[in-house]
């Protein structure tokens, strides 16, 4: 099965005799390493924007109605007269925060960065199957990022209907001001984003299937590659459905169709749309929306599998079970979408089916968790910052996963649906886990990306501030939700009219949450500083800093087109021969042939 990439590919010749210009090297680059970095830089920028948005609305939630210089600094007098943000702006901030975090940071940033960086490196290829498409994928991502940012500056404000942009709210500018120009830009941005994601994913799939080096069979692939490969397949199957949902919404908005609209009177105007269904949109949206959770999560799990094994100096426990559980999760992710819709008025029997399939996902997830934990058992753990973040990931994956059991249970969902319990759940399982995975990836592969080392001490400071801040935000948030507080509320003053005790509890918790959120946000400044400082001033990286087995560490540290000078490496073993009995060192790179009498795992 393993396709053999030969020298006939031609890249090797080309890199010798043409000097790259600044534009072709740094801007319109077709080199996978550079494109990976471009994705990372863009995503980091978008992530910082989304984080600032979250701090802004956390301030509103903790101290409603109190003027804040910080808020007025960012929003100005138009949207925050006297430093108190307007209701509409609050919804806009929440919406754009969610959109950027889910799509631009965790999809573009995680999958885009690390698939690009690691797929060619870890399978032993000179580059992606199509460098040009790869470049296109980044530039589409870039354009969609610009559009999304631009949407925050239009006069009527950004999209304000939540990141899920349910119609009719998102279809009717009369219903909320953000559904005007802001929403139009949102839809254009997302459509271009989807194109970017599709082009990227197709490229990843083709590359993994066709360009593996000699000896790199599918069962010798590092788990990272398995994760990116499966993620790409999920993306290819589900993103087009979101595109169709977005296109139908555009038509409802611009062409007077009635896909999602029926029997509506809004702003005193009786619309003629009849026969459409807002529920249809939700089905289409969540057909992507749920797999999207795994598009975000699986790459993080892949990265952490690699890191936990390297830094425990032990093979990952249950390599095949890990692959099997990724496959099972990927398959199940397509047949659980309606668990987001238990209380939409959907047929209850249909609900039961989705309860069943959703809870099944807990089984492969549990297998993964236990395998991670067993990998630590009797290891020889080295706490690099990447390893710390990986342990943080496993912890968040558990804490967020178990609350999923409650939300997946339709009967229990009735009560906590759309409350802060849900917000806490998905932030822990998808936000924290995936962000921890991303940080782990950045710390671990930074030497590979930039040829420099990041500062370890700052890495430690960053990790401990982040995990304390993150749990400090999201544990209390579960309680806000259980107290019944609905999400996307500008403030909770309404509680004063009927339950002053609940009001007090919600306010107390909101203050705690916001304080931790600000601490966590400041903690990220440590990372940003470390990241940029190390790119320019960090100490030079050795070739294989973490004593790792995979192929990317056999390539020279210097940036070069084609990755390896001379022949491509040949693979003789799986990537997890750490501390193998009988070996001299505690790691055996994949390129080392089996010794006499040595059994391959």
């Amino acid at each position: 099965m393993a396709a053999i990439a030969t020298e006939a590919h031609g890249h090797i010749d080309s890199h010798d005799h043409h000097e790259e210009s600044f534009v072709s090297k740094y801007i319109f680059s077709q080199d996978h390493k550079m494109i990976g970095k471009q994705f990372l830089m863009t995503a980091v920028f978008m992530g910082v924007v989304a984080m600032i948005l979250s701090v802004l609305f956390r301030i509103q939630l903790a101290w409603p109605g109190e003027g804040s210089d910080f808020v007025s600094f960012f929003l100005g007098d138009e949207w925050a007269p006297g430093g108190v943000m307007k209701e509409d702006m609050y919804l806009g901030l929440v919406t754009i925060h969610g959109t950027i975090m889910v799509f631009f940071l965790l999809t573009g940033g995680l999958s885009g960065t690390f698939s690009n960086l690691l797929i060619p490196f870890q399978i032993g290829a000179r580059d992606m199957a199509s460098g040009f498409l790869n470049m296109l994928s980044y530039w589409f991502f870039f354009i969609s990022s610009i559009l999304m940012l631009a949407s925050m500056f239009v006069e009527t404000g950004p999209a304000m209907s939540g990141w899920t942009v349910y119609p009719p709210l998102s279809a009717l500018p009369q219903a909320v001001s953000g559904s005007g120009m802001g929403m139009t830009l949102w839809l254009f941005s997302m459509s271009i984003f989807i194109a970017s994601s599709l082009i990227g994913s197709l490229n990843y799939i083709v590359t993994v299937l066709n360009l593996r080096t000699k000896g790199m069979s599918m069962t010798r692939l590092p788990l990272t590659i398995w994760a990116f490969f499966i993620t790409a397949i999920i993306g290819v199957l589900s993103f087009p459905v979101l595109l169709s949902a977005a296109l139908l919404l555009m038509m409802d908005r611009m062409a007077g169709t009635s896909f999602y609209l029926s029997d509506i009177i809004v702003g005193g105007e009786m619309l003629t749309n009849h026969g459409g269904s807002p529920i249809l949109y939700q089905h289409l949206f969540w057909f992507l929306g749920h797999p999207e959770v795994y598009i975000v999560l699986i790459p993080a799990l892949g990265l952490s599998s690699e890191i936990i094994s390297t830094n425990s100096r032990k093979p990952i426990f249950g390599y095949r079970a890990m692959i099997g559980s990724i496959l099972a999760i990927a398959f199940l992710s397509f047949i659980v979408w309606a668990h987001h819709m238990f209380v939409t008025g959907m047929n209850p029997f249909l609900g039961s089916v989705f309860v069943f399939t959703t809870l099944l996902i807990a089984i492969p997830s549990a297998v993964k968790v236990f395998n991670y934990i067993t990998t630590l058992w009797r290891g020889s753990i080295i706490f690099t910052p990447a390893m710390l973040f990986t342990i943080g990931l496993v912890s968040a994956f558990i804490s967020g996963g178990v609350t999923g059991i409650i939300l997946a249970d339709a009967a229990l969902d009735i009560m906590v649906h759309d409350t802060y319990f849900v917000v806490a759940h998905f932030h822990v399982v998808m936000g924290l886990s995936a962000v921890f995975g991303m940080y782990a990836g950045v710390y671990h592969w930074f030497p590979r990306m930039f040829g420099k080392m990041m500062n370890t001490t700052l890495g430690y400071v960053h990790f401990w501030i982040t995990i304390v801040g993150a749990y400090g935000v999201f544990f209390p948030m579960h309680f806000v939700g259980l107290a019944g507080a609905p999400r996307r509320y500008y403030d909770y003053s309404v509680y004063q009219d009927f339950d002053a005790d609940a009001f007090e509890m919600i306010m107390d918790l909101n203050v705690i949450i916001t304080v931790f959120a600000i601490i966590a946000a400041l903690g990220q400044a440590v990372f940003l500083f470390n990241f940029f400082y190390s790119i320019f001033k960090g100490p030079k990286a050795p070739q294989n800093p973490w004593k790792s087995n995979t192929l990317e560490w056999t390539a020279p540290v210097e940036h070069m087109h084609g990755n390896w000078p001379g022949e491509l490496p040949t693979v003789h073993r799986w990537p997890y021969d750490y501390s193998k009995p009988g070996a001299d060192t505690d790691f055996i790179p994949q390129t080392v042939p089996l010794a006499d009498g040595e059994e391959e795992h």
Partner: protein, 394 residues
């Protein structure tokens, strides 16, 4: 402005400060001859210890939250099915918390215990079918229990309401709720959004409302005739955009009135009675303790969600679609106040689906009464049926 400059200055100075500290740190580590790739035993040990400190702090914090806000922070349920849900909740929480605590103890303990030590090599332990079988089967069994119990409850909660249950409609729009009681016949009057006028906010169908809707569409202040007149009036100077707007409006109303005439053609006067005895109620929803209610939800504009936290009820209201939820309140407001120790407490209906700027203010007070109090209230509304109100406004 000055405060903004100060903020910026502080940020810039902060970055410069850290940069200087970094340089210092790097110089000193260069002197010591250590590289970033090698993690010293001291650092390793420190992180291992922090693992234990962290997990203890996390558990302590979590337990503090549970103590401070009462187990899982929910108040008591106030409906029949709510108690069933709460029981299931508690069971699920026990299972979930057990998993959370056990796995976290193991995870962080291993991270602490197996930190690198001189001369101790990691054990090459790549897989074990037996272990993997155990942690596939055990979760599967636990989940089977959760699924079976969950689906039983779900089926009970979502089953059809009994025929004698009281029908009430909750009508949502930006940003308030209106209730409609089905009246003596316990049958809600039929409705169509096209019949919505000022004196028929819910668009109920009767012969009179149909006629009046048609009349309104034709002769209202911005009805078809008025629009046509304006468009044909050559003395009026209309901007092209205004003209376009009015043309679209006219077109839309033309389509609507054709539909209204069709509806009128099909209308059966017998259904009028269903609507005439309905009682429309704003601000406060009155319910009778121990009676089963079938709530019918409608929306005028966007999706809202009817959320009664204390009754453990939630259902979206969807334009173009009627959704339903049945429940039986089993404690009066008065008694519930005693359990809460809060004389000002009220049950509430909130909106729980983002619906626009004032989403957070969209609520309705709910009062659960004893049967005799409830009957008194009904009697007080005897002459306030839709029919009474409709003709009174004429």
């Amino acid at each position: 402005m000055i405060s903004k400059l100060i903020v910026l200055a502080v940020i810039v100075l902060g970055v410069v400060l850290v940069a200087q500290l970094m340089k210092l740190h790097e110089l000193s580590s260069k002197l010591g001859g250590k590289s970033e790739a090698e993690i010293s035993d001291r650092h390793n040990k420190m992180n291992a210890n922090l693992m234990i400190v962290f997990i203890l702090a996390l558990f302590a914090g979590f337990i503090w939250l549970m103590v401070r806000f009462g187990w899982t922070g929910r108040g008591m349920a106030a409906s029949v099915h709510g108690h069933e849900l709460d029981w299931l909740y508690n069971l699920n929480f026990i299972i979930v918390l057990a998993i959370f605590f056990l796995t976290h103890i193991v995870l962080f303990y291993f991270a602490f215990k197996y930190v690198r030590k001189d001369g101790v090599k990691a054990q090459f332990f790549a897989h074990s079918n037996k272990l993997e079988m155990i942690w596939t089967v055990v979760p599967a069994v636990v989940l089977a229990v959760i699924i079976i119990l969950g689906l039983q409850t779900w089926n009970n909660v979502t089953a059809e309401a009994a025929p004698e249950s009281i029908r009430v409609e909750l009508f949502s729009k930006q940003f308030d709720w209106t209730a409609r009681y089905a009246g003596e016949d316990n049958t809600l009057g039929k409705f169509d959004y096209k019949l919505t006028t000022d004196d028929n906010e819910l668009g109920l169908i009767t012969t009179n409302t149909l006629d009046s809707a048609i009349h309104h569409m034709d002769n209202g202040t911005s009805g078809i005739k008025a629009l046509e007149e304006k468009l044909n009036d050559h003395t009026l100077a209309l901007s092209p955009t205004d003209r376009d707007k009015m043309m679209t409006d006219l077109d839309r109303k033309g389509r609507l009135i054709r539909l209204l005439h069709q509806m009128k053609g099909r209308h059966d006067a017998k259904v009028d009675a269903y609507a005439w005895d309905d009682i429309i109620q704003k601000d406060t929803l009155y319910l009778c303790v121990g009676k089963e209610y079938e709530m019918n939800f409608r929306s005028k504009d966007v999706i809202h969600s009817a959320y009664f936290p204390d009754f453990r009820v939630q259902m979206n209201t969807v334009p173009g679609l009627t959704t339903r939820f049945k429940f039986t309140p089993d404690i009066t407001t008065k008694d519930f106040r005693k359990t809460k120790n809060n004389p000002d407490f009220h049950f509430v209906l909130m909106c729980n689906k983002i619906c626009g700027g004032a989403h957070y203010k969209m609520k309705m007070t709910v009062v659960v009464l004893e049967e005799n109090e409830y009957n008194d209230w009904l009697e007080s509304r005897e002459f306030e049926t839709f029919k009474d109100k409709y003709f009174a406004s004429k």
